[in-house]
Symmetry: C2
Subunit: 358 residues, 2 copies
C-alpha cells in the first residue's frame, strides 16, 4: 500500500504526476531535441502557466537551472560584485549567506535564533547593499516571513535588489512580485514533482544590473543571467535541461490553475490550522515556532516532548505516514510535516488521528 509523504522535499508527488509522466512517455517527449520547436513550445507553456499562477509582472523572465542551490550561486555571481545582506534564521538562509562568502562578497547578516522570525523594524539594510536575500519560508525551522513584511522591506529599501527564496513557500505564499526583483524555487516541494530543477524568476532591474557587471567579473558562465536571458528569448536553455521536470511543471501548473490558487491557499490554511491546532493541544508535541505570525503554513515543525523523535517517525512510517525528521541538530527532537498542495485534507486528518494515538 502506498504511503503518504509528509516530508518537506522531496515530497508527496502531486496526484496528477504519474498520469502526465505516462502521457509524456507515450508521446516520446523525452527523446525530442531540446533545440526543437516542440521543446520551445513546452518552455513557453511552462512560462505562461507560471506567469499566470504567480501573477508575474510582464518584465519577469523565467529561467531553469539544476537546483535552487545553484540559483543561490548564480544570482550572487550575476547580480552582485561587493555587498549583500542576508536575513538568516535557519539552515537554508544560512546557505545563501555561505555562497556569498565563498564568492568573496562582503556579506552582512541579520541573524536570529533557529525557530524565530524577524522583527521587521530591526532590519537595517546598510547603504550600498546590492542584494537583500530573504528566505520566505525556512524549510529547516518552519519559520516564514509574512509577505506583508517583505513588501514593507521593499518600501523601506528601494535600492537593493530583493531576492526571495520561495523554495518551500511556493505556490502558497501570496507574494507581490512587483515588490521584489527575483525569486526562486525547486520543484520537489510545493509542486510535488521529482527533484532536479530550479526555477528562477528575474525582473528587468536584475537584468540591467547583470548587464552592468557583464565583462567586469565572472557572472556564472553558461548560467549567467545574460546567457540565460539570451536563450530565454527563444524559449531555449544554455545547456540541455531537465525536460522531464519542465514537462511535468507545465502540466501541474495548469492543473493548479484549473483548481484555482485561491482554493489551494484556502485548503493549505485549513490543513495548517488543523495541524497547529493539534500540536497546541497535544501533550506529546508542541509547535516549535512560538510567534504565530511566523509559523509556516507549508512546513510545520513540532518539538517532540519526552520521547525520541526517531521513535515517533518509525511508528508513523509503519502506519504508512512518512514525516520528516528535524533538521541538523534538531534531528532527535523534532519532526517536520510538509503541508504542500499534494497532501489532501483527508490525509492530514488521518495523520492527526495517528498522532493522537501515539
Amino acid at each position: 500500500m502506498a504511503s503518504v509523504y509528509f516530508t518537506p522535499g522531496p515530497a508527496q508527488l502531486y496526484p496528477t504526476v504519474a498520469g502526465h509522466l505516462q502521457n509524456a512517455l507515450d508521446q516520446q517527449v523525452f527523446s525530442q531535441s531540446h533545440r526543437s520547436q516542440a521543446f520551445k513550445d513546452l518552455y513557453r507553456r511552462a512560462d505562461e502557466g507560471l506567469r499566470a499562477l504567480f501573477g508575474l509582472p510582464q518584465d519577469y523572465a523565467i529561467y531553469f537551472t539544476g537546483s535552487a542551490t545553484e540559483i543561490w550561486e548564480r544570482s550572487l555571481q550575476s547580480l552582485t560584485s561587493e555587498r549583500t545582506y542576508h536575513l538568516v534564521n535557519g539552515s537554508f538562509s544560512k546557505k545563501y549567506l555561505d555562497h556569498a562568502k565563498w564568492l568573496g562578497r562582503d556579506a552582512q547578516v541579520l541573524q536570529v535564533p533557529f525557530g524565530q522570525g524577524f522583527a521587521i523594524d530591526q532590519v537595517q539594510v546598510p547603504a550600498g547593499t546590492e542584494l537583500l536575500a530573504i528566505t520566505q519560508n525556512e524549510t529547516s525551522s518552519g519559520v516564514c516571513v509574512p509577505v506583508a513584511d517583505i513588501h514593507l522591506l521593499r518600501e523601506r529599501n528601494p535600492e537593493p535588489l530583493i531576492s526571495v527564496d520561495i523554495v518551500s513557500g511556493a505556490p502558497y505564499a501570496p507574494l507581490d512580485f512587483s515588490q521584489i526583483d527575483m525569486a526562486f524555487l525547486s520543484v520537489q516541494k510545493g509542486f510535488g514533482l521529482p527533484a532536479g530543477l530550479g526555477v528562477w524568476f528575474v525582473n528587468e532591474r536584475c537584468r540591467t544590473k547583470a548587464a552592468q557587471l557583464e565583462g567586469k567579473q565572472y557572472t556564472g558562465g553558461h548560467h549567467s543571467i545574460a546567457s540565460l536571458q539570451d536563450q530565454y528569448q527563444g524559449f531555449q536553455t544554455p545547456s540541455t535541461p531537465n525536460v522531464l521536470d519542465i514537462y511535468l511543471l507545465a502540466h501541474v501548473v495548469e492543473d493548479m490553475l484549473a483548481k484555482g490558487l485561491d482554493v489551494i491557499r484556502q485548503e493549505t490554511e485549513a490543513k495548517a490550522q488543523q495541524l497547529y491546532g493539534f500540536l497546541e493541544e497535544s501533550a506529546l508535541f508542541s509547535p516549535f515556532v512560538q510567534e504565530k505570525a511566523h509559523r509556516s503554513p507549508t512546513v510545520i515543525v513540532a518539538d517532540v516532548l519526552e520521547r525520541p523523535a526517531a521513535e515517533i517517525i518509525s511508528i508513523l512510517k509503519k502506519q504508512g505516514n512518512i514525516v520528516g525528521s528535524g533538521y541538523g541538530a534538531f534531528k532527535d527532537k523534532q519532526i517536520r510535516i510538509a503541508n504542500f498542495p499534494a497532501i489532501s485534507g483527508q490525509e492530514v486528518e488521518g495523520l492527526i488521528q495517528l498522532l493522537k494515538r501515539l
Copy 2:
C-alpha cells in the same frame, strides 16, 4: 505509432526505461528524502554499476551535476588556476574552451577544421599546462578521438590532468581510465535516459590538485570537487539531485552489465558499419568524416548531396524515423544519426531501407 529517435541526444530512450520508471513510481522513490538511507543505497548502487561498466580504477569518485555543461565549468574551477590546453574540432570541444576563457584561464588550443580529427603527432602540449581537454566524441561533427590516441597523449604528457568528454561516446568507447584523470557524460545520449543529469568521474590526482587550489580561488561553491567529494564519502550530494535520473541510471547500467558491454560494443560496431557502408555507396549521401579512424561509431554525420537536408528529415519523420539535423552552420547540409545502445540493429536496417528509397 511510436517513432524511432536517431537524434544525438536527447535520444531514443533505452528500452527498459519505461518499466523502471513505473517501478520507481510504484515504490514512491521520488518522494524519498535525498538524505535518507534509501537514497544513499541508490547512489551506492549507481556508483557500483558505473565502476563495473567502465572498469574505473579504485581511486575514482563519481559525482552528479545538473549537466555535462556544468562539468566543463566545475572542472576548470576546481582543477585549474592558469593554463589549459584544448583539442578543438567542433562545437562542444569549443564550448569547453569557451568556459576556460570565461573563467580567465590562459586557454591554449589546437584547432582543426570541422569534420577533421587530430594527427596526434601534432599535439604539442605546452609545459605548465594544468589540464588537457579532449572531446572523445564530437557530437556536432561526428569525429571521434580513437582511445589509443588518448592513451598515447597520456604517455607523452604525464604532467597535465587529462579531462575527457565522453558525453556521446559512452559507454561504447573502450577508454582506459587509468590513462586519464577525469571524464564526464550526460545521460540523454548513450544511456538513453531523460535529460537533466551530468555524471563526473574524478580520480585521486584531480582531488589532490583541487585540494591545492581550495582557499586560493573560487573552486565552484557547492559543486567544487572538495564539496562534492565531502558529500560523496557518504553517498550524498551537496544539493537535492535529479533522483529520478540517478535511479534510472543505476538500473539501466545494471541492464547493460547483464547484457554485457562487449555485446553492446559489437552491436554498436556492426550498426555503425552498416550505416557508414550505406553512406559510402549512396548517391544522395556521403560520410562527412573522411578519415575512417576518426569516424564516430556512435554519432554518424552524413552530407546530403543536392537535396536540402530539411526535406530528407521531414520525409523520414513522416515514416517514423527521427534523425538529427546538422549542427549549427551545417543544419541545411547534413543529417546526424545517433547509433546509441537503445537503437536496435533492426531499427538501423529499417532506417537504411528508408534512406535507400529517398
